[in-house]
């Protein structure tokens, strides 16, 4: 019952490195922890945040010369997948790209605090929902900033470069999301930019890591569902013996296998078109998979007490985050060379 579905396009060293990162995340697989943090402010644990910093995760992608771990998207995706299994609410992915941007812009002070787990720096790049376009108009409020209530600093792209602001100097309003977390709208009066950094590659990495997080959630929800299918008895036998449910389970598995294939290929080669294809697949598959799992679990799946619904609600939040399927498919098409004639 391997989850692997073939062999990913990693070298042996890369595969081993990904495995080590996965192992280091073993302490974050407890969904009970995530459940307890729901509907609180800031909605994540400062203690867990410092632990993540000590493990080197916040600076995982940051070059060693800037104090990071200098690892690749292969390790980042392996980590994000594990965090997705455990539904970790800490804003690791948004902060990992903020760290990249700070490093690229040459900022070191706040970067140091961020990598130490003392700061939470969120990048407020969009001025409307459902977009991939980076807003550089500093007069416009920035929206959909994940876990903005816990931010110590905000990074805003402007026409003249990146602006770094203390959260206390911004007006932040938050709206609760269905997973018990929140998103925020940020209004700020920026001063002088700290430097230049390219948003495109950072947002690609955020989208890809989010795809991996969704993949972890799919695997976890599907494992719960399979175990339910094997034990739940109706009509005198396990419901997993019914062909209608078996075929639905297989169709669910196919979506997970496709997601893993494209996420891991993109992790090895995080080009814009591949990142977009991965996020498009993961976002769409996550919703399909979670819906199928809910259906196969029957009424119990619709209760808040059962963990399955936590995965559906997280998928509802993350499927559109950093761009949903339609946006990323259109971008994939725009970036892809035409098929070779056959």
């Amino acid at each position: 019952m391997s989850e692997a579905a073939g062999i990913p396009p990693y070298s042996e060293d890369q595969a081993e490195s990904a495995r080590l990162v996965r192992e280091s995340a073993a302490g974050f697989l407890d969904v009970g922890r995530a459940r307890a943090l729901r509907f609180t402010m800031p909605g994540f644990s400062r203690e867990a945040w410092r632990e993540m910093a000590q493990l080197g995760w916040i600076g995982l992608l940051v070059p060693e010369s800037a104090g990071g771990a200098g690892l690749s998207m292969i390790e980042m995706c392996a980590l994000a997948e594990e965090l997705g299994r455990g539904l970790a609410p800490e804003p690791l992915i948004p902060c990992a790209i903020s760290a990249l941007l700070l490093a690229e812009a040459g900022e070191r002070e706040v970067l140091g605090q961020l990598l130490a787990g003392e700061a939470v720096v969120l990048t407020a790049w969009q001025d409307r929902p459902n977009t991939l376009e980076v807003c550089t108009d500093l007069d416009r409020p920035r929206c959909s900033v994940p876990m903005a209530g816990g931010a110590t600093h905000l990074l805003l792209p402007g026409p003249d470069g990146l602006h770094l602001l203390k959260a206390a100097d911004c007006t932040i309003t938050t709206e609760t999301t269905v997973d018990g977390g929140h998103i925020g709208t940020v209004r700020a009066q920026p001063g002088r930019p700290i430097g230049q950094a390219a948003l495109g590659p950072a947002l690609d990495r955020a989208a890809l890591a989010t795809a991996a997080y969704l993949l972890g959630g799919m695997e976890a929800a599907f494992a719960m569902t399979l175990s339910y299918l094997k034990t739940r008895q109706q009509f005198g036998r396990p419901i997993g013996s019914f062909q209608a449910l078996q075929h639905k389970a297989v169709d669910t598995r196919l979506q997970i296998a496709l997601t893993r294939a494209v996420v891991e290929e993109a992790a090895a080669r995080p080009e814009p078109a591949l990142c977009s294809r991965a996020k498009a697949r993961a976002s769409e598959a996550a919703m399909l998979v979670q819906q199928n799992c809910l259906q196969m679990s029957g009424g119990i799946g619709y209760t808040d007490q059962y963990d399955l619904g936590l995965y559906l609600r997280k998928a509802m939040v993350l499927a559109p985050a950093f761009g949903g399927p339609a946006l990323h498919r259109a971008r994939f098409m725009a970036l892809s060379p035409e098929l070779e004639e056959v």
């Binding site: 019952m1 391997s2 579905a5 073939g6 062999i7 990913p8 396009p9 399979l226 299918l229 094997k230 036998r237 396990p238 997993g240 013996s241 062909q243 449910l245 078996q246 075929h247 389970a249 297989v250 169709d251 598995r253 196919l254 296998a257 496709l258 294939a261 494209v262 290929e265 294809r277 498009a280 697949r281 339609a326 498919r329 259109a330 994939f332 098409m333 892809s336 035409e338 098929l339 004639e341 056959v342």
Partner: protein, 388 residues
């Protein structure tokens, strides 16, 4: 047996992958009959034997067989490149049941006499093989097959009927599954038999399919005498041997080539019908294209398993389901775009490869043959997901 001197003097495994690819590509482009590129259907022996003999003469007919049996002895990685190059150029499938199914089976399970007699005749094109598995009442439930072979002296007497036998009318030999022990549990009474199609008592009747093509046949057996030395392996052990050959089929049927071909046709059609500006079409095309690329990503992971010389697990069936259903969706979009032209019996005027109805019909059986997609889902549910 006498060793066959390979006609390909070079050890192609020693070449770098890319050099090998170019070497194969150049030879195919120089030697493949141009009029046979991208045939709209399986070709008959009288149409494609030119190509069979070209490959045979070059010593490239059986890339996967060991060199001592006349093959190329290519590593799995090189075999994949070889196949990719054939697909890239739109080469027709030969009458290849002897090459890809029977040859490897005899090399693994046959007696030295069987290997010495049959293998050279596949290599020379003297024997063209067909596969006799399905029966009218044994389709998805193949193990319930009822064609019998009863031993009388030195011969088996075969009675019964096979169906969906691909290109039986072109074949002069058939490898078949027969019931040799009617009392045993259904999988345990089956044997693997090699039958000369010119034997008295055999009738072949082609079946016309929805494309009006006679790719499949029914084959009837009326007291057909088969020498008992034509049984492969142990009596009543045929099921296991036949099953061992199927994992190749599952990855072959999961290759993205059909979807790639259909996508290219869809693009040509869209151009011709002027629908690129239609946002609904653009979104549908983007979905197909992304689905296709994701299938390629997944396929690549299984190719990697083969390249490392590891066995493919039951989960390779995933590819067959995904590929066939994508191929079907693309051709459904073609019909929607083509309007009335989607019902034309012949290719659209001015482009002999642009035939929406033909491709649509060609896509229909892909979810039926090689084990229906429902059977594949049953296998995945039980053997991969561990459901009861």
């Amino acid at each position: 047996m006498d060793l066959i001197t390979p006609r390909e003097p070079q050890d192609l495994n020693a070449m770098e992958d890319e050099a090998f690819r170019l070497h194969v590509r150049r030879w195919i482009e120089a030697n493949y009959p141009p009029e046979l590129r991208y045939p709209p259907r399986r070709l008959h022996w009288n149409e494609n034997k030119v190509w069979y003999f070209k490959l045979a003469e070059k010593g490239w007919l059986c890339p996967g067989w060991p060199r001592e049996y006349g093959g190329l002895g290519l590593s799995p990685a090189k075999q994949i490149i070889f196949t990719e190059e054939l697909e890239r150029w739109g080469c027709a499938r030969c009458n290849d049941h002897g090459i890809i199914m029977l040859g490897p089976l005899l090399i693994r399970y046959g007696t030295p006499q069987q290997r010495a007699f049959f293998l050279p005749k596949i290599l020379s094109g003297e024997h063209i093989w067909c596969q006799g598995y399905s029966e009218p009442n044994a389709g998805s439930d193949l193990a319930s097959l009822r064609t019998t072979a009863v031993l009388e002296g030195d011969h088996y007497i075969v009675n019964g009927q096979k169906i969906w036998t691909t290109l039986a009318q072109d074949a002069n030999w058939m490898f078949m599954l027969v019931r040799t022990d009617p009392a045993a549990k259904k999988q345990e009474g089956i044997s693997f038999l090699l039958v000369d199609m010119t034997s008295p008592g055999i009738t072949v009747r082609p079946i016309i399919n929805l494309e009006m093509h006679d790719e499949f046949c029914e084959v009837f057996f009326d007291n057909v005498r088969v020498p008992k030395e034509n049984l492969v392996g142990e009596p009543n052990k045929g099921w296991e041997m036949a099953k061992a050959l199927l994992s190749f089929e599952r990855i072959y049927l999961g290759s993205p080539r059909q979807s790639a071909y259909a996508l290219t046709r869809l693009r040509e059609l869209a151009e011709r019908m002027g629908v690129w500006e239609d946002p609904v079409f653009a979104a549908t095309y983007a979905k197909h294209r992304a689905d296709f690329e994701d299938l390629k990503s997944l396929y690549g992971r299984y190719v990697e398993v083969l390249k490392r010389g590891r066995p493919l697990g039951a989960d390779v069936s995933q590819l067959k389901i995904i590929q066939s259903e994508l191929f079907q969706r693309i051709t459904e979009t073609m019909l929607a775009v083509a309007g009335e032209h989607g019902a034309l019996f012949e290719p659209m005027a001015g482009n002999r490869t642009l035939h929406p109805a033909g491709l649509y019909l060609q896509a229909r059986p892909t979810s039926i043959y090689g084990g229906t997609n429902e059977i594949q889902r049953n296998i995945l549910a039980k053997n991969v997901l561990g459901l009861p």
